[in-house]
């Protein structure tokens, strides 16, 4: 009895040490994002800040290197891209698993496997295509890209989900004179709300965290997404104003933190969704 209790205590000590190692970088980010530059340069980074400068640093970071614009851009890309891809994917999933169109499985494979290749396979041709059709460095271009990249996974999940909906529901609605679009909208969509929410969070997160396509498909700070702006914030300021960079990092991370703490249940659900994919 005594030994198991001692063992339990040792485990907790180890866990606490590990947790401390995981929390310290976050704490140092917060505390240094709060320092004035004179405070930061005259005292070691692990000291506690002497004044409260967090808000003014966040303000400076927001207006520097287009980070604020990037933040708003990414909100637009994330919301529009995730929502549009869910609509497009639900139409496709409905045709494949409910209407059972001929060749549906092949079409599904074509949609699903479009994005299993490494992302580096897409960058050069997309850059050239965007340049030749005038989509390069435009918000529309990025919205179209982010929508497209989210479609395959949404189709995979919704296709699976729609097969679990009993067909009688649709037949009853059709007998009453509903069109297929109507059935999708008023029978299938309401049933898949929580799956769609999980998908929305996942795709929004992916789009928000994207750096590669932001720097490949756009160049001006009025179009670039937030992570591209954050990267150029590091370049502009070099090592000279780390508190501003860290405040910028906090700005870029804030929506993800809000989503994580606000929708924790959905994140775990979403994870099991991804895991079931395998």
């Amino acid at each position: 009895m005594k030994t198991t209790r001692a063992k339990g205590a040792t485990t907790y000590v180890c866990l606490a040490v590990a947790a401390l190692l995981w929390v310290l970088p976050i704490w140092w980010t917060l505390s240094n994002a709060d320092k004035s530059s004179s405070d930061f340069f005259s005292h070691p980074f692990y000291d506690i800040p002497r004044e409260f400068d967090l808000l003014s640093n966040i303000g400076t970071a927001w207006s520097a290197a287009g980070l604020g614009t990037g933040f708003i851009n990414s909100l637009i890309y994330g919301v529009v891209g995730a929502a549009a891809s869910i609509v497009i994917a639900s139409l496709a999933a409905y045709a494949i698993s409910v209407l059972r169109i001929r060749g549906g499985f092949i079409i599904f494979l074509a949609i699903f496997s479009g994005t299993v290749f490494p992302l580096q396979m897409y960058i050069v041709p997309l850059f050239k295509m965007y340049n030749s059709v005038g989509l390069y460095d435009s918000r529309l271009g990025l919205i179209l890209f982010y929508t497209a990249i989210s479609v395959p996974f949404c189709t995979l999940v919704l296709r699976g989900f729609y097969t679990t909906v009993p067909g009688e529901l649709r037949e009853a609605a059709l007998v009453e004179g509903a069109t297929e679009v109507r059935v999708l909208r008023s029978v299938y969509a309401p049933l898949s709300v929580s799956a769609c929410l999980v998908l929305f969070l996942f795709q929004f997160t992916w789009i928000w965290n994207d750096l590669l396509f932001g720097i490949v498909l756009s160049s001006s700070s009025s179009v670039r997404p937030v992570m591209a702006s954050l990267t150029s914030l590091m370049g502009v300021y070099g090592g000279s104003s780390l508190p501003i960079q860290l405040a910028g990092a906090l700005i870029a991370a804030s929506p993800m933190l809000v989503l994580f703490f606000g929708f924790r249940r959905f994140f775990t659900e979403g994870l099991s969704l991804v895991a079931r994919r395998g």
Binding site: F127, N209, G248
Partner: protein, 294 residues
């Protein structure tokens, strides 16, 4: 009769209209790009002058490029380290924390770095590994030789440092995936085993580990594929430098294509990377396709 067949045809047509937007997006952007990248890899495309077909010249040039070995080496190191460290630690954390009091606190703490994203992680760790970060701490602790180390400039330490940052970031998500796996294990099976006297390591070795193996395979497959494409963190922290010493295939493709405008060469690197990824994920893809079909 004719009316019925017309209606059927119209209904079929509608089905294809429903899939059309998804197909147009995916085929127009991604399948087009895949075909084009393979084609561009056989040309001397530079984004300025018209491209000419050059056969295997880019692939030959790659074989003779001294950077090839560095990139293969770094890409492999990333792949191996990302399997061993975040997955191993994630498993350890999951098994230790699961069903223990305070689980939700540990879960939040370990997952937090994943929530803040790759680029943000890169900014934070660039600061910690830079001159005003850990070096200052080591100096204060009297560890002068450690304080001299330039974590992001010395080779091969720069790659290892970024792997540490990446482990810090991704361990939590692997832990959560293992939680999902642990939740699906029948509790009665584990209880029966513990009644039979299986505890600690024995319990893990003979019960938990085998029952988790399906989930472990999925996590390892995802980790390999992600690690082979490692870009964001490296791009933010070292941009593959100094002098390409911490570059990986993903960084190399981007650099050749968009910094030196050797798009033909960049495309060839992307094709080789794709072959690596496809070889690494063949078993995983075959399995998931089988499940999708069912």
């Amino acid at each position: 009769m004719r009316g019925a067949s017309m209606r059927r045809r119209r209904r079929r047509l509608r089905g294809y209209l429903f899939v059309a937007p998804a197909v147009v997006f995916v085929v127009g952007m991604f399948w087009y790009s895949i075909v084009m990248t393979v084609w561009i890899s056989f040309t001397n495309s530079n984004g300025l002058t018209p491209a000419k077909f050059v056969g295997l010249a880019n692939y030959n040039a790659m074989l003779n490029d001294p950077e090839l070995l560095t990139n293969i080496y770094n890409t492999l190191i990333w792949a191996i380290a990302m399997i061993v460290l975040p997955v191993g630690l994630g498993l350890l954390a999951a098994v230790t924390v699961h069903k223990r009091r305070g689980k939700s606190i540990f879960q939040t703490v370990f997952y937090l770095p994943y929530a803040i994203g790759f680029v943000t992680t890169g900014v934070i760790w660039s600061f910690l590994l830079g001159t005003s970060g850990f070096s200052v701490l080591f100096q204060a602790l009297g560890l002068h030789s450690l304080a001299q180390v330039q974590w992001l400039n010395d080779v091969p330490l720069n790659t290892y440092s970024m792997i540490v940052a990446s482990t810090w970031q991704t361990m939590g998500v692997d832990m959560l995936l293992f939680f999902v796996g642990l939740d699906t294990i029948d509790r009665q099976v584990l209880e029966a085993a513990s009644l039979d006297g299986a505890v600690g390591w024995k319990m893990f070795r003979h019960m938990t580990w085998p029952l988790l193996s399906a989930m472990t395979r999925v996590i390892i497959a995802i980790s390999i594929v992600n690690a082979l494409q490692a870009f964001n963190l490296i791009w933010v922290m070292t941009a593959g430098g100094p002098y390409g010493s911490s570059s990986t295939f993903a960084v190399w493709t981007y650099q050749q294509s968009f910094q030196y405008y050797k798009m033909g060469y960049g495309a060839a690197i992307a094709v080789v990377l794709t072959i690596f990824v496809l070889v690494a994920s063949v078993g995983y893809l075959r399995r998931s396709l089988r499940e999708v079909r069912v």
